[in-house]
């Protein structure tokens, strides 16, 4: 489902990823772990098409990413993201934030999804009017709305307490049960409980 061949990346002259080869199968819950600076966020960004790798090739669902003409539409249709900081747009309400990400035919499902995640009552509130845990649940809802084939999550619980962290892991785990592949980068070893595949990074290489 995801295949990376010989992926390297440089920030200026500094190399942060070293010729990585990687394959992730459909329906996996991949736990990408490693110390700070090990390159896991950069790898996640490359795998999720948010960052063009300096070298190497990436295939998603058999398609070579560099050959995809409309990468924006591909991203909206196939990929969901959850970041460490919720990255909701501050001038849009919870409903509007999700609606912004939603494909036209998925917009009618927003309220049902919010209800499923227990945040329907927050629909008209703005990001600065809700708690950190609630914001991250909204971010998960935004990632799920288009029923993507894969969700990438970069330290999604980095700023949450353990109760809210567990809630986020469970939401992602439920998505995996429905067939969505999850790739999650984190320091939190609790992710192991949900993971089906572990990738450990060190100094820009897979151990």
């Amino acid at each position: 489902m995801i295949k990376a061949l010989n992926i390297s990346h440089f920030y200026g002259k500094e190399q942060v990823l070293y010729a990585l080869d990687l394959e992730i199968k459909k329906g996996e819950f991949v736990f990408l772990s490693g110390d700070s600076g090990s390159g896991k966020s950069t790898l996640l960004s490359c795998l999720s098409t948010l960052l063009s790798p300096s070298e190497g090739e990436l295939f998603l669902e058999g398609q070579r990413v560099d050959d995809i003409v409309d990468i924006d539409t591909f991203r909206q249709n196939k990929i969901g993201f959850v970041f460490q900081f919720h990255y909701l747009i501050n001038y849009l309400s919870v409903f509007e934030n999700i609606s912004l990400a939603a494909l036209q035919d998925k917009k009618p499902n927003i309220n049902a999804l919010l209800k499923e995640l227990g945040i329907l009552d927050l629909a008209s509130r703005y990001p600065n009017e809700i708690s950190g845990g609630q914001r991250q649940r909204v971010a998960v809802a935004r990632a799920l709305i288009n029923e993507p084939i894969v969700i990438f999550a970069d330290e999604p619980t980095g700023s949450l307490d353990s109760r809210n962290s567990t809630l986020v892991y469970e939401l992602l785990s439920k998505a995996r049960e429905k067939g969505t592949t999850v790739v999650l980068a984190s320091h939190d070893l609790h992710v192991q409980e949900y993971a089906t595949q572990m990738i450990k990074m060190r100094d820009g290489k897979i151990q």
């Binding site: 924006d72 993201f81 935004r142």
Partner: protein
């Protein structure tokens, strides 16, 4: 929809852009309108009073011109001369006011000033313009070293005149030591003034005779005012537009994180550019309209401020208004869309990280 939300939910940023555009546009409007107003008032004063103007040859300013009053008789004797009158234009301290325009006019032209109080002045008397009359009290007023009796007050459509003092040309001649600043001639053949100009020119070697139309076009003082105002308003314009472009650019750069998130969510570059385009259009157009209305009100108010003695006046011309509107919108769009286009081409994750830094 998103454009409106972005503006209304970020009131400080919106206010900053709105204010900077408003101030820049107002500066352009006020500087150009006031300088055009000053020229307009003086031109109107000359153009409405005659078809031909006679000044001293080679002078840079009518203030320094000295024409022999005796010419009036010779001019009146020429064919196609309907009427003629002489005038002295000067400036002097009047009462407690440091400076005011003084108009010494021939007796036959005194009725040009519409009396609303008193009578036309005899020797040793003056008429006060409506604006200056509000600031001078008493029966007499000191002008230069002489004291004059106030005979009455007059109204005029020209701010310059309402802020000045009218007296007989003889008194003005003594005050400014000259015969006349210029002579204005009306003709009964306004379509054939060239022949009359030529005839008048032959009357005296020391005079310059022109139609009032060409005088206004060629008058050095107007050129100086026009050129200085052009330089000042151009500088204000350029600086204002640069300000608009840089504020827009700063605002766009501060929103890189937002653009990164949108790109990560699959929104296209065009979606981002389109929304920013509408935001900029809404903001620049509404700020322009606000500045236009505010400038209009200020320009309407200026002639009624007594302390300005009616010397400040101006009106917004359509060509300047449209030019400023087009430039404002174009610069605001350039200031926002160029950095947005560059940002939209960057990898989303880099935008998000740049936005956080």
């Amino acid at each position: 929809m998103i454009s409106f939300k972005a503006l209304s939910k970020n009131p400080f940023k919106s206010f900053l852009i709105f204010s900077s555009i408003t101030i820049a546009v107002m500066a352009i409007f006020l500087i150009s309108s006031v300088s055009q107003g000053v020229i307009g008032m003086y031109s109107k004063m000359i153009k409405t009073d005659g078809d031909i103007i006679i000044t001293q040859k080679g002078i840079a300013d009518t203030f320094f011109s000295n024409v022999d009053l005796g010419l009036l008789e010779k001019i009146n004797a020429l064919a196609h001369v309907k009427s003629s009158y002489a005038m002295i234009v000067g400036a002097s301290p009047v009462g407690h006011l440091p400076i005011a325009g003084i108009y010494g006019v021939s007796k036959n032209h005194l009725n040009h000033y519409k009396l609303f109080k008193g009578h036309y002045p005899k020797e040793g008397q003056v008429l006060l313009g409506k604006t200056i009359a509000k600031q001078l009290h008493g029966r007499t007023v000191k002008i230069g070293n002489r004291r004059f009796r106030i005979a009455g007050a007059y109204k005029s459509d020209i701010g310059f005149e309402e802020g000045g003092v009218v007296m007989n040309i003889k008194d003005a001649g003594e005050l400014f030591s000259r015969s006349a600043s210029f002579i204005l001639v009306s003709t009964d053949a306004p379509n054939n003034t060239d022949a009359l100009v030529e005839k008048i020119n032959k009357l005296d070697d020391e005079i310059s005779v022109k139609t009032t139309q060409s005088f206004v076009k060629e008058y050095n003082q107007f050129k100086i005012i026009e050129n200085s105002s052009l330089v000042i308003s151009s500088l204000a314009f350029v600086m204002g537009l640069m300000g608009i472009a840089s504020v827009m650019s700063m605002i766009v750069n501060s929103r890189k994180e937002e653009f990164g998130i949108m790109r990560a969510l699959g929104k296209s570059r065009m979606f981002i550019i389109k929304n920013l385009f509408f935001e900029t259009l809404i903001m620049s157009f509404s700020a322009y309209l606000f500045a236009f209305v505010l400038s209009f009100l200020i320009l309407e108010l200026l002639p009624h401020i007594d302390t300005l003695q009616g010397y400040m006046s101006g009106s917004l011309s359509w060509d300047i208004s449209l030019y400023v509107l087009a430039s404002t919108v174009v610069m605001a769009l350039m200031g926002s869309l160029i950095p947005a286009w560059i940002a939209a081409k960057t990898d989303p994750v880099l935008l998000i990280n740049q936005g956080c830094s």
